[in-house]
Symmetry: C2
Subunit: 435 residues, 2 copies
Amino acid sequence: MFMTQLEMARQGQISDLVREAAAAENIDPEILRQKIAAGTAVICRNNKHLNARPLAVGEGLRTKTNANIGTSGDDTSIDKELEKAKVAAAAGADALMDLSTGGPIDDIRAAIIAETDLCIGSVPLYQAACDAVLRQGKPIVDMTVDDIFDGVKKHLDDGVDFITVHCGVIRDTVARMEREGRLLEVVSRGGSFTVEWMLHNNAENPLFEFYDRLLELVRPYDAVLSLGDGFRPGCLADATDRAQVQELIILGELTQRAQEAGIQVMIEGPGHVPLDQIEANIKLQKRLCHGAPFYVLGPLVTDIAPGYDHITAAIGGTVAGAAGADFLCYVTPSEHLRLPTVEDVHEGVMAVRIAAHAADIVKKIPGAIEKDNAMARFRKNLDWEGQFSVAIDPAKARRIRKESGVDESHGACTMCGALCAYKVMNERKREKAAS
Amino acid sequence: MFMTQLEMARQGQISDLVREAAAAENIDPEILRQKIAAGTAVICRNNKHLNARPLAVGEGLRTKTNANIGTSGDDTSIDKELEKAKVAAAAGADALMDLSTGGPIDDIRAAIIAETDLCIGSVPLYQAACDAVLRQGKPIVDMTVDDIFDGVKKHLDDGVDFITVHCGVIRDTVARMEREGRLLEVVSRGGSFTVEWMLHNNAENPLFEFYDRLLELVRPYDAVLSLGDGFRPGCLADATDRAQVQELIILGELTQRAQEAGIQVMIEGPGHVPLDQIEANIKLQKRLCHGAPFYVLGPLVTDIAPGYDHITAAIGGTVAGAAGADFLCYVTPSEHLRLPTVEDVHEGVMAVRIAAHAADIVKKIPGAIEKDNAMARFRKNLDWEGQFSVAIDPAKARRIRKESGVDESHGACTMCGALCAYKVMNERKREKAAS
């Protein structure tokens, strides 16, 4: 009889995927099995995604990173998105979400999935919305319940490893949001489609109302449910408000129901959050969702830096990761301004990897601080090739030094030249050793 | 009789400079006077720096930012440094430190001071080192005590508003550092000169031994003493160790002595610090130095990101600022690799301003969150000119949108095109209002 990863883990079985993911993580597979059984970690790997490396996400594991790619109605080039997939993989992202909403999105998704061996996520509601709007010329609110579930099935059939589903967006919470008032209301794209659909059709969110149907649909693929945060704050002023926390409570209940059905779950989180509220957000999610892995977008610690939101997100992402977030979604310099370019994707992945690594140092993930210590030793010895070898972006570090036209004879860099503190210190030691 | 700002404040006098600085800060001058009297804020403004705006730094005030510029032995162009001064000022830095150590450094310093009306800092020990090494062909360790004090006087005469002096680097702490062991020992340039000088001459640090001479020298200029952190950690592994904390204890004592002599003080801090140690570092400094303003470099939360250290520093700087750091020194993408370019200076200032602003939101500085709220409202209305007007870098935000070749007819950006969540939401509201 078919068993899901969660069911196998609960029965004490260490599956091949768990073994493979544990090896990549350099941990004991039995430890990983226990985390999966407890629901504090998940293995992202759709049974149909045969070319994919299984990705473990959760408590005590290396903080993972995701790059969002995909077309929009304004920019439908497949080639550009495939280039982004390659660049994100080369830059070290652990996962890719294909968020395409423009052009032949079925073909684009298939091409992106085939392009790398990375874990793939998607938002199947975009499928139903695009099929309705783009193929049938209908407004989004005319999607039927079957359209929505057919979209989910399409993505699962294509091998998507984790699907973002905004199951926690319900009518009661919309009313609660409206009573409190918000500057930006609903900024999640999937969340906004769901709210509009509910209000127009005077009906409950189908992914909530027919949640058991969703669980049955997902089961044979053993994909991870990534419960989306449709009420995530879109600006600092809306952070940690009633709508956001109410949704999180509901997501906690849905987590339990999914796990009871043998389906693995992670939770998506904000968003735009003032620095001093980030830790509370992580603790709250971990408690309300019984330790389920937390996947956050940013969080961005200010709203006023378009052009630099890879930085505002890296700030929040580091604090979130250090407080226990397990999976960080990148934000690129183009966020709030345009679909990212290939260069933006590279910069976004580097920024989120910095955040994940700085968090892993706090989490005491084995192997994390050791990289920093190696860098320190190479710096002390002015060993530039050594420094590049442990740098997060060796090519960029090498290029910056090269462009400076440095005088290689003194061994230092053009910042201090011969007055380099390492050089001054090393010379004294050499003299002392010689005397 | 001449009185310093600190003495006037203690006597209840609100000086013209306090009035001017309070106006820039949009606070009651009496409040600022009280902070100055208590030593929890300082006014940076040398009596000889007539073209300068006085800069208030300290508790409860807007978090300030500094850009380090200046030549090195490998790169001695005055023009480039003047361009950096202009770019840093245009990008919104509050202060500039001229750290020149190459070429005609007296002329460079004078030119930089004349170029803008920003507050200026420097490290006068570089003067003595350069005068010894560059003009007289002697090794740094041959500097005399008078050379060191002459260097300080030169900078004060030129109008430097705050001087970094590594008075807390003493022989006892060197021994303590060596007993514990460190990966990178002394990475502060001034700190390394001082340590080498002490070891070679078998003598105590003149800026410690003759501290009263220093205080007398500074008094008529009423410059701020910025007590340098010669033992600041140069890698995560060395953070918050005995040498660093021992130096901070000594700086606390020196703070008290300076304040008793009517001289204003701020304290410089690390450096490279794991995220979870940053808050402790700030609290420790504030307690040991009786609330004196804290000026931090970074802190960098990982060592492995050369090429991205404006980001690693913005992460640490935000957390430091939120925990109470008052003044953030930028770090550019070129840190650890080369003297920064003009473009690096711009990127560095933007990153540190993001950190300072995100911290000011946590500190509840009046006017901070209001900018984010304005941005949120402009975003909701898809008012792009409004968004640019409150963006930290309007030119860059505008350029990114323009380069995307966006279809202006739908009003959104190329990220979501017609499926923009704001657009979807606004259309429903319009329909509802019309019905």
